[in-house]
Symmetry: C2
């Protein structure tokens, strides 16, 4: 079980440290976990002059899974485009062929008050968003800024999906729907964009292999509304890279506690990169204030999806539920009557609860 | 004051009829309003075989403003792409050069309970979203479905913005910000897409002409989150066609009463198309159940933006506030203790309150 650990920038190193403590407990209990660190994002730039240095690339290619903190921060805002931290993230996704991004939006009953939505609208919320991660307008060619025939500057990007790219993400989404509530909503803008009309056509075709799953289709603008109006109507959602970026962030914010939400990005063989859904939070970096639970839960996803260690995954997830039930809260999810803890204090609590 | 009236499909004719009654009161009080009807969308297809027939096109080109109900419905779902109702909407926007779409998201105090968000998060909400409407991936070439070099089918669309297109929408947005809270948030995905990096660059350049307006920038995924987390942080938002489609629908749903929200789509000379933010609601079409207030408020926007009749616009808006205060509610916004009225019943109430 070779894990490449990429702390990244901002609060990355702090939250990663707590997830590593959890994995070390599992190792001392017998799981053959090996961890090695490498820099990504701004840290990669600082150490090797590149956001995805070849040192990191080699480590990640060799590993079975990658555990990532977060990348980016104001120190890197003025770098040229190819050197910016988020380029490291896009590069590692593409390099490792991590086309299936799984982003759960779950409301923990103990944290129900954190949501800006009324309790009855979000209680019990449990959505899984499946976002395609290596295609679409993120990577489509041609792209750039140029002078057009009229002598005016214009910029362009290309949304693009091949049949194979859509098929493979469809199979991942239907597979997940089969293990859950058997409802899959595919999000598109088929009334305007040929790319997503094609997406919809392929989804319908793949659906024939999963007769038990109820497939529905929704326009992306309507999906953005329905997530606010009645999010509990959704079980699994599947969509392209850019719509998935927007909708998964909206969905995770419905829970009010994005500091709790993990994510997995998988390739064809369940090799995966695991990272919290939140960002590098430069404003609180280095202050031992961050919430490490999303990263710890990302490690649990890794145990489940890459290493097939369901029992170990559940052990970590139960420990997280226990510390919430015990009342431990980092600043982002704190409310009166609870016990405020630091990032490392939360790590202590989870390790104790394991 | 020549107005082309396009009832469209579904509930369109019903809600338009009530807005026309309001305009007729203003005419009988002296405003030189002329109205003529033409079909758009499915209705255009039924009558002339095209969603934007030349009969409609001629009327709209001649008019000073267009008042539209809504287009689309299940009867037209199996038509070929160029004949679908929404093609009529895209065609009229492009034909009349209606590049500036203004979509307010306002919470009416009387309807505070309709929101799925907690009262303290949305009370007093008043956001104006300025969406670019005739460029971006909606209209960019090349687009289509083709077989690639590997013999595989793939589909593609092009996101594209020229400098001039961005400048003109920037001026509209800054102009509106000047008349409101002087805060403008430009939404992009500049960390990934060159098109929106260019968008951001031009926004910053135009900002120099509006030193009183505080310009900020936000990534679209973060904007989708912030609208849920703390929507009252926003005054005016400006963004491209596709992001604007998604975010303006999300924002309008925050109010819980999309049946109340109007929209305006303007050209360079304040000629405009005015329509409710909601759709054609085929499920309740023909039942006299729809909420006509968004359409009536769209007529008020028309009086303000195209005809410069601020007093008449306010008169209509006050009448709407009065009927809400009097407790009249259509089914979509009904709550206990109020008086449920039909679509035409709501029209009666507004006419009486004028
Ligand atoms: C940092 C950025 C490039 C990235 C994305 O847009 O994919 C992020 O928003 C995410 O969702 O992981
Ligand atoms: C019907 C559709 C083409 C349209 C759009 O996407 O622009 C609608 O969603 C809107 O926002 O007016």
């Amino acid at each position: 079980m070779k894990i490449a650990v990429l702390p990244g920038d901002g609060i990355g190193p702090e939250i990663i440290a707590q997830a590593q403590r959890v994995l070390e407990v599992l190792r001392s209990d017998g799981l053959p976990i090996e961890m090695e660190q490498a820099p990504l994002g701004g840290a990669g730039y600082d150490e090797f002059g590149h956001p995805y240095p070849s040192f990191t690339q080699n480590l990640c290619r060799d590993a079975d899974a990658v555990l990532l903190g977060a990348v980016g921060g104001p120190a890197y805002d003025n770098l040229d485009r190819p050197l910016r931290p988020e380029r490291g993230l896009l590069a590692i996704r593409k390099d490792l062929n991590l086309f299936a991004n799984l982003r759960p939006a779950i409301l923990y009953p103990e944290l129900a008050n954190a949501s800006t939505l009324k309790p009855e609208v979000v209680s019990g919320l449990d959505i899984m968003i499946v976002r395609e991660l290596t295609g679409d307008i993120y990577f489509g060619q041609p792209r750039g800024i140029a002078v057009n025939e009229l002598g005016e500057r214009e910029a362009y990007n290309t949304m693009r999906y091949s049949e194979g790219e859509i098929r493979r993400i469809a199979h991942v989404a239907f597979g997940i729907a089969m293990k859950r509530g058997k409802k899959l909503c595919s999000v598109d803008k088929a009334n305007v964009l040929e790319t997503t009309e094609f997406w919809k056509e392929i989804m319908i075709d793949v659906a024939r292999e999963y007769p038990q799953v109820e497939l529905s289709h929704m326009y992306v603008d309507n999906a953005a509304m329905q997530l606010v109006r009645n999010p509990k109507q959704f079980d699994v959602m599947v969509t392209g890279n850019i719509f998935g970026d927007i909708l998964s962030d909206e969905a995770s914010m419905l829970t009010g506690s994005i500091g709790m939400l993990p994510s997995a990005s998988l390739d064809q063989n369940n090799k995966g990169l695991y990272e919290p859904s939140h960002g590098s939070a430069p404003d609180i970096a280095g202050k031992d204030l961050a919430n490490p639970l999303a990263t710890i839960l990302s490690a649990a996803m890794m145990l489940r999806y890459t290493f097939n260690q369901e029992a170990a995954a559940q052990r970590v997830e139960s420990a997280v539920k226990t510390v919430l039930a015990q009342g431990y809260r980092t600043a982002d999810i704190f409310e009166a009557g609870c016990e405020k803890v630091s990032c490392s204090g939360m790590g202590d609590a989870v390790v104790a609860a394991l």
